[in-house]
Symmetry: C2
Subunit: 340 residues, 2 copies
DNA sequence: CTGTTAGCGCGTTCAA
DNA sequence: TTGAACGCGCTAACAG
């Protein structure tokens, strides 16, 4: 495609072209190509040959106009900076892919007006359904207005419990991490959380504390919350070391925080995991795999989350009624910051 | 939208509905809504009121079928892990947004078969154009087959020079970084590059060396290439320090490499930027802003790249002929790893 | 000024 | 087994 002759508007080949070449009617061609019966083998072959020769491809606009189904969904995200929507898109594509579904991606950038605008635009384009991906686990207000297609919320659930949402279980994730540390024999644990305005922050901590309690333990220093940054991880780790010099395990609300912790520990001459084991949250590869030592962490399984959301959307598209809330369980990824 | 009554198929409101409510014909409604003339003010008002009341929105499938224009483009990427396509999408959305354009996002995952499949699917959906985003700056083979719409390649150019491509100037970026280090008085410089199979690797190094030469300098140690990882950055930095203990500046092929360098320098007791200044490449915020000290680096301006690609696509859509190769110049972001 | 008609490309009736 | 006709929702071309 080296030439740029655009004005020429090389008309796409249509059913009529195939019909003409084959010498039959468009209706017959349609039947032949769609494997409907009531067609002789001979004409079917002739049609297929002609279609092949003209490299005919059906116009899905026309098809959608007629059938009311476009095999198209909208993915409305608020997190294009981030690491949530993309694995989710991959998962959704996996689930959709087999069904020949395409995805409109719109980034609302956290702006409700923009979001509303995109919803309108998606509906104008007759999408069959909408996937809404949040940038945080906090519940969010549902899309407003009359939405004549099914909607599935992912990561951040709709605040309306009747809406269909897929979320991660942050409590379970926190529990997982704590259990792991206790399983490898750690008893003097602390928790460094992220931004306290994030629901994920408190829930992960809650899960961790609950796990400790279940084994008769409690953290040796009160959990601390700050921000999702390495700087906070460093600062909080220093503080924890100061208040509990004999601690033997640090649970972190994110991999960035854990990375800060690891750096401080190394600089303080504490061996990891020998003296102190560290666990993160996110399994954000560039960080978790590049830290020293490599970071054990909790993976929210975003692709699975995306696949689940896509499957739920399918079921709704098929007219099935589905429950409001669906949970994807995180899993533990062990690397050398907890086990050697 | 709390209910899930799907079977009911609440039919979307159409021109005919508005026409009926207003008591005029569909043609009249169409004219009124599209601001065509030949309509009395009274009927126009009545139509607008009715449309508003029924919250009518035109079906863009029907419109596209008729006009041949769908106001839709495909974004074919090979880098959804990464940090290239997303800022690019933002830029493209910015440029498109004003024109009410929507984007189909497809992730080919580096697989030519999958890519071909997606191209077909995009064309079936009658996209007006296609944006191809690579995961590396190396030239790539053009899309194959008859593509009846304009294509613009971004980041990684098409190997066919007549195709329209937007690229970053890695040579200039490398030069920028080197110039900056020399401007702050550094003379004993080394270069640590990334994966040598990436064109970006050699080009950034070339630019840096060229800048040195232009001031009568050459690196105090031969440039070294490895991978785009912190581990390589650490390893290479140790090696450089060993071979040239008195070096006073390190240029890195990526922020990850630079991050590794910073960590080693701190551990070796070298002050940054006091003893040694460090500059990265990418301006990957989570890394560059969280390192100690914060990292000066080269920003490829991906959003600008996306905007440029989108604008070029527009011009092609408008039938304009555009040159094959377009270059976006990177810019320097200074933080405290080079200036205090 | 407004209504009617034709057709965009396709799938699905019905007759033949 | 095939063809002709209709309609999906819309805009453009005419007629009135």
């Amino acid at each position: 495609m080296t030439d740029q002759r655009l004005g020429i508007k090389t008309r796409r080949t249509t059913l009529a072209d195939v019909a003409q070449l084959t010498g039959v009617s468009v209706g017959t061609v349609s039947k032949a190509l769609n494997d409907r019966d009531g067609i002789s083998q001979d004409t079917r072959d002739a049609v297929l040959a002609a279609a092949e020769k003209l490299s005919f491809r059906p116009n899905s606009l026309a098809r959608g106009l007629l059938s009311g189904r476009t095999n198209t969904v909208g993915l409305l995200t608020n997190d294009l900076e981030g690491r949530f929507s993309l694995p989710m898109l991959m998962g959704a594509e996996d689930a959709f892919g087999a069904q020949q579904l395409s995805v409109f991606l719109c980034d609302a950038r956290g702006d409700a007006i923009r979001e509303q605008h995109y919803v309108g635009s998606l509906l104008d384009r007759q999408v069959d359904g909408i996937l809404v991906v949040a940038d945080r686990a906090n519940p969010r207000p549902p899309l407003t207005g009359r939405i004549p297609v099914p909607v599935v919320y992912a990561y951040g659930p709709s605040s309306d419990p009747d809406d269909v949402s897929v979320i991660t279980d942050d409590v379970e994730g926190g529990r997982h991490g704590a259990m792991h540390l206790m399983d490898i024999g750690r008893r003097r644990l602390v928790y460094i959380g992220g931004d306290p305005t994030y629901l994920a922050s408190s829930q992960r901590a809650d899960g961790a504390l609950e796990a400790l309690r279940s084994r008769g333990l409690s953290p040796v220093v009160e959990p601390a919350f700050g921000s999702w940054t390495e700087a906070w991880g460093r600062q909080a780790t220093l503080m924890m070391l100061d208040r509990a010099p004999d601690l033997d395990g640090i649970m972190c609300g994110s991999d960035q925080i854990a990375r800060g912790a690891l750096d401080v520990l190394r600089e303080q001459g504490r061996s990891v995991p020998g003296d102190i084991a560290v666990i993160g949250y996110d399994n954000w590869r560039p960080l978790a795999e590049q830290s020293r030592p490599q970071l054990s962490t909790v993976d929210m399984n975003f692709e699975e989350l995306g696949r689940t959301a896509a499957r739920l959307l399918f079921r709704r598209l098929a007219g099935e009624h589905v429950e409001g809330l669906h949970v994807v369980t995180p899993s533990l990824v062990t690397r050398s910051s907890t086990v050697s």
